[in-house]
Amino acid sequence: MSSIEDYAAIVGDDVISHLRQLAAPLKGLKVVHVNSTRLGGGVAEILTKLVPLMEDLGIDVHWEVIRGQEDFFQCTKNFHNALQGKQIPLSESMLKAYEDTNAANAEELRPKLEEADVVFIHDPQPLQLLRWCPGRKGRWLWRCHIDLSHPYRPVWRYLRQFVVEYDASIFSLPDFAQPLAHTQYLMQPSIDPLSDKNKDLPEDQVLAVQLQFGIDPERPMMLQVSRYDRFKDPVGVIRAYRHVKTFAPFLQLVLAGGEATDDPEGEAVLSEVRSEASEDKDIHILLLPPDAHEIINALQRAADVVVQKSVKEGFGLTVTEAMWKQKPVIGGNAGGIRVQVSDHRTGFLVSTPEGAALRVRYLLSSPEKRMEMGLNAQEFVRENSLLTRNLREYLSLMIAVMDKDKERIELGAWARP
């Protein structure tokens, strides 16, 4: 497990020193993060790294995961899709499963949650816990990682009744903010440069992974890493690949998807993807376990072009991961990707499979441009999207939320209320 000092080599000693200063008035603060899975998906990944670092800075931090049955996760998957704009009606039985599961988890977690000074509830799954903790003494914040710019109104109306009871919400972009009476903070997610998924790898390990999956290292390769989820548009990626294949007959496509324990829809989407790929031997559809971090890392390093053709995206961590490895990214012009990718500078923003194909062709035919954009991309991530910056934002936010009416907070004179 990395300690806070291990990051100094990448971000500099001064950044670490500033984190310690920022954390000093928060020493001993009781903080709890709650989400619905320990493995798979961006939220679990961030918390895996963030929580130990907060602990390292002297914060009394805990990470709790709520448990539920299939009907609960089916309901919350529907929430997820509906909040991203899909029209999905919810049955009474589903909502009952949701509320019963939150109530049952609250029984177990209540003492810890009610005692905490700050509680971060991640996404809609554990959202209703607040209602079951009437004796809470701390500040409760709802961290929404989802693109909430155009939610399906009936579902948002149902969830909103729980959201309004929070002290504040946190969104990844201002575009996702909603008319709410409480403060809506903005915070972008980050990647960990020291994790298995992002650390430097020896070339022979990268080569071994290519060979393990039958990928020809001598031929060009385009890659999309993401769960098998319709919003990630894996079928659109295959269509883009087919357009490019006419001009680059040696091209290979790798779709590397993982499984998340809170996503019951993945299997159906995977079938659609396999059907679209048909018998094409140059399309490699990989179903990787949630801990295949070094494999993902190697695939991203091996790729000539990385695609993230999402049609809805809160914030695509795989985009940032690829950029950190000096890869220009062709991203869907949606949600957080619009902020992550600077069009024509660190990659391209596209809206259709045809648009993605055009940009893949351009990058494959311009190695120098690919390298230049890749270097720009890595520098952008170093400055803006590493875990240390996210940690700093969490620390700042905890101070800010305790003194939310002040526009300027001088830490030297600041004491916890």
């Binding site: 020193s17 201002p174 400055e383 300027r408 907070i409 830490l411």
Partner: protein, 262 residues
């Protein structure tokens, strides 16, 4: 504390594009140090306390899709939002040096494709205004003037509205002290982006006369560094981002102290 207060009235003509207002801005003490204390003339000011800062961004939930909606929001938006959209971009993740340094001008150019107004907005320098309310009025006037000029309203695409945001600023002391001006070259080179923002950008809102903290401190040495203050004043803070600004300042101090620029 015995304080020598050097007050003057500084007449500033603002609204460079239109010359609309002339304000009288009281320039209060001339030699404040970073803690807001008066410097002791002749003996030089106290050491310069290097601070760092971070912005906590807050979405206000208000958005505009055309100029009329923008004007309506500008009338009543939290003043912190005006500050954030003029300066906050410097501390926000962004891939390129922006062509338009304030968010209003950038949105009008990229989303409304109204270059006439974008150029008028881009020239606004917030340090020319006594406070954010004057800046707000200038923004509203420029937008209204444009609304009078155009025959139809340009609309931004549905997903490209202007989202009003404000921020809380957290300031902390790095415990680094600069004892003499000669140390500025190495000290500025080692400053974080947050420190550059706090002392060179945010200071213009805090320090009387709208100068940055570095000049404010140097003024505490009396006339000794008047020429250096002039050089620092000539650095345009709006382009190149905070790292570019740090580089420019470092080179300037290096040339002044080590390169015989005096």
């Amino acid at each position: 504390m015995q304080a020598v207060v050097n007050c003057s009235i500084l007449a500033i003509t603002i609204g460079l594009a239109h010359g609309r207002y002339t304000l009288c801005k009281a320039s209060i003490p001339r030699a404040l140090n970073t803690r807001g204390e008066m410097s002791k003339q002749n003996a030089g000011p106290d050491p310069f306390a290097v601070k760092d800062c971070g912005l906590v961004a807050i979405a206000l939930g208000h958005k505009a899709q055309n100029l009329r909606e923008m004007r309506d929001h500008l009338y009543r938006i939290h003043p912190g939002s005006i500050y954030h959209h003029f300066w906050g971009g410097l501390l926000r993740p962004q891939s390129a040096s922006p062509e338009y340094y304030n968010d209003f001008a950038g949105w009008v150019h990229y989303q409304l494709h109204d270059d006439t107004l974008a150029e008028r907005l881009a020239i606004l320098d917030p340090t020319n205004y006594a406070d954010l309310e004057f800046l707000r009025h200038e923004l509203v006037d420029l937008v209204e003037e444009r609304l009078d000029e155009v025959e139809w309203l340009n609309w931004a695409r549905a997903d490209h509205e202007f989202h009003f945001t404000r921020s809380q600023i957290l300031i902390f002391d790095t415990r680094i002290r600069i004892e003499t001006p000669e140390e500025l070259t190495s000290a500025v080179a080692g400053m974080s982006s947050g420190s550059i923002f706090y002392h060179f950008i945010d200071a213009r809102r805090r320090v009387p006369d709208g100068v940055d903290d570095l000049r404010s401190w140097l003024m505490g040495f009396g006339e000794t560094y008047t020429d250096l203050c002039g050089l620092v004043a000539s650095v345009d803070p709006y382009f190149g981002g905070l790292t570019g600004l740090r580089q420019q300042l470092t080179e300037l101090f290096a040339a002044y102290f080590d390169g015989g620029a005096r």
